[in-house]
Symmetry: C2
Subunit: 316 residues, 2 copies
């Protein structure tokens, strides 16, 4: 084995050594080298290691296998299965009130295609609200995929339709034959995905010709800066929302419900043109605003000051 | 004549009276009423009047005529024909060095369609750089429209191709038969246009089936706040770019080359979905970044921190 190992600085030496040791255990002779890299890549391995900005170079014939292994580690460690985080998430409006508690729902509902007699896949289904909705609208079958075991337990309790099947899996690992689905939906998940291009390519394959992909994602403007918080004036009021680092794609470590969460920032250009290059035709691009009946809440009214979400509808 | 006149407050009384008087002179018995309105509408009339946020209600059978008249006033008063502003504009990199001086050019060039044997319309052609480029790439004919007489004088001096025709007109007034053009381009003009939807509808009609529209516009993120300037830290460095008022579409009064300039802010949703609803298929949406050879300039490097421009390519 021809092993090449480099590291950034002494500061990281011991963390790095532990990391290498761990990977040698996992990869054995398949470890060809470990390279340092300027951008975020290892969010999918171990969050505390991701700070190192590493790329592991392995024999390509086992790379798929390794990525799956890495994602299984990620699943074991995913925030949504941490008891405290899960508890906090359960208390959010959108968790308690379902679709009606989500500011974007009225807009998303108008963009979603007809579900009647359709085969549907929901990537990152969480509590299964959209799966249930699709069934209520006459879908033939729905598969919901999520990496959180706890979320799926709740989803299963809520779901009365036997045509809905839940799978506990990282959405990057989803494998279905070509032309399996009429509709693929995904709500607020793609900004966690490291390899968006590979995922879109896979989604395109899994969709039937004329099939539709509708997804919501945190708006690139919202993920760019990293803080995901407003700038406040001296009186403590929200002065404006800060924008920075827009064209520097990659990981952003942000705080959600008091916990550190790792997201992937990418530009609008990347979100849209990746779809177009994969063969999709873009049907709608919408930045949702809360519905009128929510605007009495000052926090919801602030949502008119900057786009937080992007809804994209595309057809194969 | 049944005239209804209302005004906001005493503060604006005298300005308003002058405005009404002027409009009665122009419209005579066709003036049905003058209404106040919460959003920006009269940028196209007189900049100093636009602060009033008025809508003039006139007999619809003469509304086209009146809008043309209003735009003629706007043309007479347009900033680009003010000697001082024009002088400052002439000194900008993009004015002195043409396409090579424009940060977005390398990206735009890749997105522009093949010009060979094509009939081209350039809306807001300015110095005519894109008209000349289209001819160099083999276009059959090019029409450049701009409301600045001074810009067109320079364009005519620069242009050696007799197949290029320049017209001094507001781009909202452009009238050509259906299916007249293979390609319509527009560079950094649509954020000055009040009625984007009407313009896109007209462009769609003027394009042949399969014809392409490529335009650049100031990015909605760049126009939203209004200041179009960074927030600075105590050391005077650019801390971040401020974002606010995003979903409040309408006029923004900003400063460009030391002069007050009136722009129209609209969201990304509006820019893209108006095209889709008009019948276009979106081919590319790109936020350009300066080319590598420009990044030695710290100001250009700051362009990686927030998107300033949007390039859209759409096909009929």
């Amino acid at each position: 084995m021809n092993r090449i190992i480099k590291t950034v600085s002494d500061e990281y030496k011991s963390t790095f050594d532990t990391f290498v040791k761990r990977n040698i255990e996992i990869l054995g002779e398949n470890l060809v080298g470990i390279y340092l890299h300027g951008s975020a890549t290892l969010g999918c391995f171990k969050p505390n290691i991701s700070d190192l900005d590493l790329i592991i170079v392995i024999n390509s014939n086992i790379s798929d296998q390794i990525m799956k292994l890495a994602r299984r580690i990620k699943m074991q460690e995913n925030k949504y299965d941490h008891p405290l985080f899960f508890e906090k998430y359960s208390q959010m409006e959108r968790s308690k009130n379902g679709l009606a508690g989500a500011g974007e729902w009225e807009t998303l509902k108008r963009i979603l295609p007809e579900f009647q007699n359709k085969h549907v896949l929901d990537l990152g289904c969480g509590y299964g609200w959209h799966c249930i909705y699709a069934m209520e609208k006459g879908a033939s079958s729905v598969i919901g995929v999520d990496l959180s075991q706890k979320m799926l337990e709740v989803a299963k309790q809520k779901t009365k339709f036997k045509e809905v099947k839940y799978i506990c899996q990282s959405i990057e690992d989803v494998e279905f034959p070509s032309d399996s689905f009429d509709i693929i939906i995904s709500s607020l998940v793609f900004h966690y995905i490291f390899d968006y291009k590979a995922l879109i390519k896979k989604i395109y394959q899994m969709l039937k010709p004329g099939g539709e992909l509708v997804f919501t994602v945190e708006h690139p403007i919202y993920t760019a800066h990293g803080s995901q918080d407003w700038c406040y004036n001296e009186a403590g009021e929200k002065a404006h929302f800060p924008l920075d680092h827009y064209f520097y794609e990659g990981k952003r470590e942000t705080t959600f419900l008091g916990e550190k969460v790792l997201k992937q920032h990418r530009t609008l250009t990347t979100y849209l043109n990746t779809l177009i290059l994969a063969g999709f035709t873009i049907q709608q691009v919408v930045e949702p605003v809360p519905s009128d009946n929510m605007l009495h809440d000052p926090e919801m009214k602030n949502e008119l000051r900057r786009p937080m979400m992007l809804i994209v509808s595309a057809i194969k």
